[in-house]
Amino acid sequence: MTITETPAGGTAPPAGRPRPNRAPNRRGPARATRRRTPWLLLAPALLWLFVFSIWPSLNTVRMAFTNAKPLGGTERFVGFDNFGYILEDDQVANALLNSVVFMLVCLPLLTILPLLIALLVEKKLPGITFFRTAFYTPVIASAVVVALIWTFMLDDRGLVNGLAQELSIIQGPLPFLTDRWLIVLSAVSLTVWKGLGYYMIIYLAALGNVSKDLHEAAAMDGAGAIRRFLSVTLPAVRGAMLLIAVLVCIAALRVFSEVFIMTGGTGGAGGEALTMVMLIQQYSRGFAGDLGYASALSILMFFVTLVPMLILARINSRSDR
């Protein structure tokens, strides 16, 4: 039998043979402490996760199969009734379409524009910090305050309509706050304006990791700026781009405050600009809120949110291959 010396001077078990179980010894309490320590450290986070995320999620699933009301009362199991009502409710299809359109328009804008801005402000020029700050400022503003300001600007007698009429671009005011698709478009503009800075920061971090040598090598090989952007920069920030795409999809499908404020909480005439989260809020609020149905809508929303994430994950795995 070969005895293998270990760096610490002890003995190691022979290669290929299982390590023998150590008998309980005086080091037991130390091992037990070592085993418990990670759990103790994780406990606050796990408790938080359970109370504020896991339990509410499980409770939502439970409530979706009941006629739950905010004050309880005669709560009973109703099977798939709430999900059946989703199919009959014309507001759901409408809200779902608005949310998906909102996401589809936001996705390219918030994935590409911040990258272009990051490329501009990445350069070390005098005063560039001012522009970085300026682009980031909307991020720290309250969504409600920003939406109110935009509402004043887009009102039929607001700044935008007034200016456009003054310059004879339009004859009468455009119904930014009362026409379905103009409401969605206005909300997209606000979201993009407010979100640019946040995603720009993520791209700036990613761009900082792009090797300058690669750019120099590509330039020496005769690649122009566009070629270098497509062949060097883009592949290098692909991970950040996918992350941003996922974040944008989730945030866009959950859009609420922008459309809510711009339409005074009504979702526009006929509720035709309602989004899914507004619809969930509409059904769940107040003493007579229909929590069972609102929970069923939340579950539908969860699966809708999964779709773009799965598509992006698929794109990512294909690119990796």
């Binding site: 409770n59 526009g268 005439a269 509409q282 107040g286 003493f287 007579a288």
Partner: protein, 424 residues
């Protein structure tokens, strides 16, 4: 080999199942005590957005109660105006509703249905103390009893921007007194001043009640307001909108949209309580001395505020005594004098304060409101909830924009509202 993770997962599963089952439990008024016991111990009294403006009055009233009942103490808790219904809802569902709580009848209805409020008619002879109409506001179909002491009453009066009326060919000394006159003058205003508007509100259930249209059937089980008369009201608004007599934002207007536009000087007419004039003048000083007040068009709406007692109060006798004390004639009159609201107690109407002006716009609003109160009615049934109001508002907005007819808007709304009612 035994999986060491099993205990952890089992524990997690037990905790999750327990938590979920706990979520199934209905809030019920736990505890409760002898309603005829001694008036002692401490209670909590919750008001709705009354401090700091009326802090002094509330403190004095509480001190007077504590002087009368030395063994009792009252803790005042004032909640902000926004999100009050959510606050009361969360208190009720977690069994932490204060002993005495200020809730209007539409909040009290679901609480009474769940047995969370105490039937105060068991402790007090309501009819001999309060106006019948105000007591009726706290009686609900399907629940025996009265679930609140009426505290104070309110109604809406009309506020007109005198300068805008006079500048646009109208007479601020004779503002519209009926809906017909309102539409006639709105058309004149649109012709003379296309930049200004008279009407900036969409119709709702209250407008149908004003025209004697039933909102619900007799047993309250179905909505029945989709009548040709109701459709005609909506079509009239749609016509006014098409003629440029209303701003486009009327399609999105929420409850306060009308008064906000009036405050901003964008429209010449708003409705509001007797205290609204102070708010208009404070937020837009250019309106000072420029507002004409008149009674509400047709019938005035009646708003009731009351004090309800939690059935789960640990000092029920003290809570009942305090709620009755706060709503007695003397205290109601004192409060009405400082808050420009109206008392709900018998005999208070003989106080000249409510029937004689002192020359200030505020007193004019008070006297106008008090006179309107004699014929005021509750215009919207308390069983109409937020989702129902939202849906109806959305359909009416479609009709006003001209996408559908008034009758189509009403038929669609009635179908949906009946659906929502059945799901309650």
């Amino acid at each position: 080999m035994r999986n060491k993770r099993t205990p952890l997962l089992t524990g997690f599963g037990i905790v999750a199942a327990t938590a979920l089952l706990a979520g199934c439990s209905a809030p019920a008024a736990s505890g409760g005590s002898d309603p005829e016991g001694a008036v002692d111990g401490s209670i909590r009294f919750q008001t709705w957005s009354l401090t700091p403006t009326y802090q002094e009055y509330l403190d004095e009233a509480i001190a007077a109660f504590e002087d009368e009942y030395p063994d009792a103490s009252v803790e005042l808790v004032d909640q902000p105006g926004d999100g009050y219904s959510e606050k009361v809802l969360s208190q009720a569902s977690t069994d932490t509703l204060p002993d005495v709580v200020n809730v209007p009848p539409d909040f009290a209805l679901p609480l009474a249905q769940q047995g969370i409020l105490y039937d105060v008619s068991q402790a007090t002879d309501m009819e001999s103390t309060y106006f019948e109409g105000s007591v009726d506001a706290y009686r609900f179909d399907g629940v025996e009893g009265v679930y609140g002491y009426p505290w104070y009453l309110g109604t809406d009066v009309n506020y007109w921007n005198a300068t805008q009326l006079d500048d646009c060919g109208l007479d601020s000394a004779n503002p519209p007194a009926t809906t017909d006159e309102l539409f006639e003058q709105a058309a004149i205003m649109a012709d003379n001043c296309p930049e200004n508007y008279l009407i900036s509100r969409a119709p709702g259930l209250g407008d149908f009640t004003l025209e004697d249209i039933d909102i619900l059937n007799e047993d309250g089980s179905e909505f029945v307001f989709n009548t040709p008369e109701a459709a005609a009201i909506i079509d009239r608004y749609a016509e006014a909108y098409a003629n440029g007599e209303m701003p486009p934002t009327v399609l999105n207007a929420d409850y306060l949209g009308n008064s906000q536009l009036f405050t901003e000087g964008k429209v010449a007419w708003s409705t509001g309580g007797a205290t609204a004039i102070d708010s208009f003048e404070e937020n837009n000083p250019s309106l000072k001395g420029n507002i004409v007040i008149s009674p509400a068009l047709n019938i005035s709406p009646l708003y009731v505020q009351g004090l309800s007692v939690s059935a789960g109060s640990e000092n029920l006798s003290t809570a009942l005594a305090f709620a009755e004390f706060m709503t007695n004639a003397d205290n109601q009159n004192d409060f009405a004098h400082i808050a420009n609201v109206f008392p709900s107690t018998q005999g208070s109407d003989e106080d000249p304060y409510f029937s004689e002006e002192d020359g200030t716009p505020s007193s004019e609003a008070r006297v106008t409101g008090f006179e309107s109160l004699q014929t005021a009615e509750v215009l919207t049934p308390y069983s109409v909830n937020g989702a129902m109001n939202d849906y109806l508002g959305q359909q009416i907005a479609l009709a006003i924009r001209g996408d559908i007819s008034g009758q189509e808007a009403l038929d669609t709304s009635v179908e949906k509202l009946n659906d929502l009612l059945a799901r309650q």
